[in-house]
Symmetry: D3
Subunit: 235 residues, 6 copies
């Protein structure tokens, strides 16, 4: 059995049900999923500022997972908040949904496009592309022009997503699309069908990678993510 | 059920049993593995010259897979021979063991090293790193100094691998190791234990990626790998 | 005297006469040109799939050249099929028309554009740009939208080429143009005149480089293209 | 008059006096310096883990500065914690000591080396080099092998620094040295004298850049660092 | 006191007064500015050709500065003519206005645009971006379409600059603008106000960097800019 | 007939005879070679400083060539002094020996090494590698430790070259060697024989490229090297 803890690193549970549904549908039969939120921090992560507000609480939640006996952790936000820090502290697999999704995109095509929420959020995504070394493979980051909390309006989301995805393909030459926010859900199959190319929901790819790592007994390198020193830290 | 055809693209079956053993151990319970070779081409793939000798026959074998009803294909040689061509012709997932392994390495650390067979084989590996866009993440390609067909001498292989892996870590600063040949088998766990870092057998990662793609209904983008034209071709 | 074998790596001789004409016009007085085709393989090379169909037969034809006493080989297809493999096996100069043309383009300007046949063929060209390290210098690959075998319709070719070249200059800022297919012939001077910039037919540049190497006694480095091992290979 | 708030983003004031001394010595006559710490968070910042522990409290301290009437802020840790987030929230100049120092290093030479504290801290520095686009100009990151809190042992620091700097110059070819931690102080002139090259204390460069920006009326672009949205955030 | 010699490397003094005005306004109170021209060479620097005409005379003028007792030199042309050579010969800080301005632009945003005079002058600017390693951070070089000597027509300049700057922001996504010629003066504040982003006059940034270096006792690395040999040279 | 003017851009004729000998041996039968020097400028070009001293006089000499009826120009110094400026002013082919040699090296192998004179001269070579976009292909620049004017001591040169070339191959993995100074002559064949790899004298490659361009009617793009404006210039 593979026990995976999914941390949705915002101070609201409004997305949990939809996420769970997707995860239940795509998980291996022997995988057990728990979804939690943070009880402090921001209600949504729109840019660097919110990441800083989220990361410490997310990290604390991740640290608890090892004690709780989980086999792996998914941090469910496209900004991969606290992922590097959690990898330093923990030995079980920690998977960010951004890193997982762009690795899949890289395997499936030659130039992917990321469909994000607002233009103001592009910078955090660009920074991760640099950190992960995928700047060249990402041909564009296109924004829907919708704030994260407004993504609950599914018909507005669907309309904007259809149009934005089409532009990514036609104007930017994307051959794979990645949704650049964990709250863009339920559109993968329709858009894939219409535009005739792979469309990636990042959460699903994180799930598969996390399961893979647990299955084959791999985890992140402690040479790349060394254990923190024992010094005083106060919250 | 996921039916996967594994093509070992050489004109010998001496590796099939070991490969099957690894695959049986790491596959999902609902995965069915068939391993085949090519009946022409080279006995081993050491460098570009052998790749050209292998690719046409490998491609033909891959093409048959879709007709035979397979859900996915793994081309089991670190040179990823005919992988791009097969992706053009086929709609089911085609996974090369090199591409799969370096994507995992990239997820698990920051600088990986590839342990290959002979110095003369480094150039083909370097070329793939360029094609896949991973030159910067690979800090070194180190050769065992053993021809592929001599890898059957397991004690010689083990000795060379231990020493070469150690140098990759100590001198090149690798934090993840990837075996750069599908015939370097059975050493992953020991070396991982000794050197305290993830060690990747490329076949296992290709297996997991292939299963993932089948599970979630993704395949390579036909926009990146367009269907070939209908023209005359003779063999 | 410099004896050069030109291999047109397709299973048709329809282009040989035009190629010979260009070569006769641009060769040194002491150069002797022989043009051959392959008797198997594809009728045209449009993308990766066709390259795999061509390469083994092209390689075999190249191998014969050294025995036949040639001083150099030109592989006459912009995909440079089997060029790396042939360099491994042979000691006489082997020149691909793509590699030769982009080196000239790089010398003559700062940003070149490649005019290719179909959009679906761009990927093979992009891959070579990565292998040769010229991604940054190539500002665009523009397609005529014509299949290779239809290039025999010279008036359609001329019309498409004039328009496509103009776009490469005006929209992409190209300062040198390279025809990205060996069958785009006879337009170099007219387009150069109209657009006021160097226009390169790749075959001519391969010819000059091949002659240069023979003249000054240089050939590709056997340290970069090591001799293949003696193992069993079957066709 | 230029009022600058220096935030030393750790939960200890042991470095403040030394920092103030350096700043008083190098500031413009009309600059007024205030140094503060954070009252929660970590005692030292050694790697990503500590950065996450520091950033939220550092950000809150930075936000107060604008209200307090400061003209500029320096975040005094080589990890530039919360610098991007603070630039999003604030309109007055926010300067990280890492970003300032490598820009000076880039102006003064062609390949700089960063002298950091422990090997485990290199990864955070490497990540910033990628974010700031200076990977190629930095030829090495060399560690003293001393934990931050042990840098108070000045004779141990001096000995290690002399040796490490020498290796950066002789083995890595550095022509400029940057101290990669705000607590490596008081050695700049001696090492510069011995090794005959510029040696940069990052705090000094941040001070000069901050003063320059205030003097000429420039600040970071709000197009690159957009104002955060008004959503609920809880600490 | 900081004595700085500003060399305007053209054979005309028509710009000196405007430059002096800007410098007087932005300099530290203890800085003393002298502005000189070269008495041979070109009247304006438009492209590489003019740079070669200017550099020897500019270098000679720079060499005199050290004898004359100056503490630093600014070479006031965006082509940074003779800057590398002067750094080799001299030990006092030598600052080019191009290098200084792009380092400031890099600190203030993520993608800057350079507003230059004519399209024909872009190549020299591109070359410097490569030499300084800032190709990726510069998203565009846009030309006003005005020859340097015609920049005296301030209303034509203002009109073209407003329009060109707007395009750099809207079409290229620039978040910082740099004027790519020392004679584009007096527009910084207005355009910054209109387009809501930092606008950089390169001369001002060179002035601040030069003052900074003198203030803190830094100069370019003699390991990167080694002293020329004593050989015969004739003018 | 192809009339080529070779400008040796130093104020001494001591190298002309050796250069002429090499050129006579490697030129086409219908090529006519004239070698000239500059009558002012430096006696040798060791680094940037000397380049500035040479370039204006070299440019003037190049400009005369078009009037004198030459079909092409070779600027015979590895710093390619005034090459870009001359290409702007002239329509006949202008070839620098550095640019020609590295393009040949790129065609013949995968990682070349440049053997230069003194460590202090490496920076100018590095800058050209950046301008020409070949940084990645050059694995090392190794210096002989001999000043240009001392290269007349052929036995000292030979001894240093043998040792330095060997290190480039064994320690840096070079597969092609390029002599990085036009005065390293007469060693090509011996070192090529000993080290079993192509060794390039840059002058020969410039000669062949210049002849090629004249033969096929190509010259540098005037879109990349636009004609200078008509403004006042004084010498």
């Amino acid at each position: 059995m593979k026990r995976i803890k999914v941390i949705v690193p915002v101070n609201t549970s409004i997305w949990n049900e939809s996420i769970l549904e997707i995860f239940e549908k795509n998980k291996d039969s022997d995988t057990l999923i728990d979804i939690v939120n943070i009880t402090k921090g921001p209600e949504a992560i729109e840019q660097h500022y919110d990441e800083v507000w989220s990361e410490l609480f997310t990290l604390r939640e991740a640290e608890k997972a090892e004690v709780e006996g989980y086999d792996g952790i998914i941090i469910y936000c496209f900004g991969d908040p606290a992922v590097r820090a959690a990898k330093e502290k923990l030995r079980i697999p920690v998977v960010g949904i951004m890193e997982a999704s762009i690795h899949f995109a890289s395997l499936l095509g030659k130039r992917f496009s990321i469909i994000t929420t607002r233009n103001e959020g592009k910078f955090a995504t660009e920074d991760l592309l640099k950190l992960y070394g995928f700047e060249k493979k990402c041909v564009s980051i296109r924004a829907l022009g919708i704030e994260v909390l407004n993504l609950v309006d599914r018909s507005r989301l669907r309309k904007a997503a259809l149009e934005t995805c089409r532009l990514a393909v036609e104007d930017d030459g994307a051959d794979v699309l990645v949704f650049g926010c964990g709250s863009i859900l339920g559109l993968r199959e329709e858009i894939s069908e219409i535009l005739k190319l792979p469309v990636i929901e990042p959460g699903i790819t994180a799930l598969k990678i996390c399961e893979d790592l647990i299955d084959v007994g791999l985890t992140h390198s402690k040479r790349a993510y060394p254990m923190p020193l024992n010094i005083k830290r106060q919250i």
